[in-house]
């Protein structure tokens, strides 16, 4: 049954991707890309990667789509006819694809439990992590504890991306009050948004703090919280959103999360352990692991939330500026 789902969903994914090539209407391309992301999330669930599916659904179908749409608002929605012939790219792609297909024949068959990938570190994570770290969710254990250094690096990359976007675009803070912004005229949207925004934030908090036990964690929670505020900004207008969470505040929160994460590492060094070795944080190693993971996931959540929101602010304030002109 699982195999059938796999084959059907992957075929739908391939068809969606194929359609994207030929569409000239970029609005439709972006919408199809949202569908593509949702399909990927379903496939990830089917392949047991629940945490990944969670992230893909929130990021790919939510934030990516919003960012691409706000770019389209500035750059126009139709693609011009291509000037160069599509023959050469086609040959390059078919040749590369044929070589890669030939390469896949040397891969171990899909889903076998004795594949090389399952032989090295994975048994340690699966068998030891419930005792060593004390969390049922192995993905969180590996993410936050075994590979904590790696995750710190990725949080820094996310922060660096926000720095890049803000230095390229910048946020216009002073909005004219009389200017039309958001969709305040739509009563249904306003009421529904007011109803679901608190629920989204509540869900994000659940994802943040329940990530140790079920699917979820700082990355997903940060994105979901940001999505709640983005919805608020879309419905009630950017000036109103700036009053709730000011751009300045997100610019403070983004480095704060990274500092919390790195601070846990430095605390563990000061307590005589290695960098990001949570065992020394409390008297009992497992309690130390719990504490460390809770704090660094919070740091990750704060940074991801602030970065996503400030990137959205940067794009949205560009769009509003273009609307005035």
């Amino acid at each position: 049954m699982s195999l059938l789902f796999d084959i059907v969903l992957l075929s739908m994914l391939a068809l969606t991707a194929l359609r994207i090539i030929f569409l000239k209407d970029l609005f439709a391309v972006v919408m199809l890309f949202g569908i593509y992301s949702f399909l990927s999330a379903l496939i990830f669930v089917n392949l047991d990667a629940v945490d990944v599916a969670f992230t893909e659904a929130a990021v790919g179908a939510g934030i990516s789509t919003v960012l691409m749409l706000s770019t389209l608002a500035l750059t126009g929605r139709t693609e011009e006819k291509s000037s160069h012939s599509s023959f050469l790219p086609l040959i390059v792609v078919v040749t590369t694809g044929a070589a890669l297909i030939y390469g896949t024949l040397d891969m171990p068959p899909f889903g076998q439990a004795d594949n090389p990938i399952h032989q090295h570190v994975a048994p340690r994570y699966i068998e030891q992590s419930p005792q060593e770290v004390g969390l049922p969710n192995m993905v969180t254990s590996v993410l936050a504890s075994y590979r904590g250094f790696d995750t710190l690096g990725e949080t820094v990359v996310v922060f660096a991306a926000a720095v890049g976007v803000l230095s390229l675009l910048g946020v216009r803070r002073k909005e004219r009050e009389d200017q039309e912004s958001g969709l305040k005229a739509h009563r249904v949207l306003r009421v529904v948004a007011k109803l679901i925004i608190p629920l989204i934030i509540l869900f994000a908090l659940y994802v943040q703090f329940h990530g140790d036990f079920g699917p979820g964690g700082g990355f997903q929670a940060g994105v979901i919280t940001a999505a709640a505020f983005i919805l608020y900004a879309l419905v009630f207008g950017l000036p109103q959103a700036f009053k709730v969470v000011s751009p300045r505040f997100t610019e403070i929160l983004a480095p704060l999360g990274v500092l919390i994460y790195a601070g846990v590492g430095i605390t563990s060094v000061l307590k005589g352990g290695n960098f990001l070795d949570y065992n020394v944080l409390a008297a009992d190693p497992v309690a130390g692991q719990h504490l460390g993971i809770l704090v660094i996931e919070l740091g990750v959540g704060i940074t991801v939330f602030a970065v996503m929101l400030s990137i959205f602010y940067a794009f949205a304030s560009q769009t509003e500026k273009a609307n005035i002109q």
Binding site: A17, L26, S40, I63, S64, V93, G97, V157, V158
Partner: protein
């Protein structure tokens, strides 16, 4: 049939990767190129997650009565890669916004012509 089932995931990954690659090298519009890059990127995610799957395995969350778990390591790598991916996509899109402002177009052939004039 077993041969197809053994490699189907990898073949779709290759197809998606080549679709994304084709969009990147053939499209003129920069926003569409970014969409192509994202398709390419998702195909890599799909490859990793497919390799981590164990038939009849379960999601790597400890529960009673489950003996076979899928490999959690690819999940960790890809989870963070997705968030990093959207952040870098945002940088790409903001570069496009700046290009639009400087050249008045986001079609690759058009702003190259303008560059030649300057």
């Amino acid at each position: 049939m077993s041969f197809v089932a053994d490699y189907y995931n990898y073949w779709v990954v290759v197809f998606l990767m080549m679709t994304g690659f084709y969009v990147v090298i053939s499209a003129n519009n920069l926003v569409k190129k970014i969409v192509g890059l994202n398709i390419f990127q998702t195909s890599v995610f799909m490859l990793y997650i497919s390799m981590g799957k164990v038939t009849n395995g379960s999601a790597p969350i400890v529960a009673e009565g489950i003996e076979q778990y899928s490999n959690p390591l690819p999940h960790v790598l890809i989870l963070t890669a997705i968030v990093v991916g959207v952040a870098t996509t945002a940088v790409g899109l903001s570069l496009i916004v700046r290009i639009k402002r400087a050249y008045g177009t986001v079609e690759e052939n058009e702003f190259q012509d303008k560059d030649d004039v300057i």
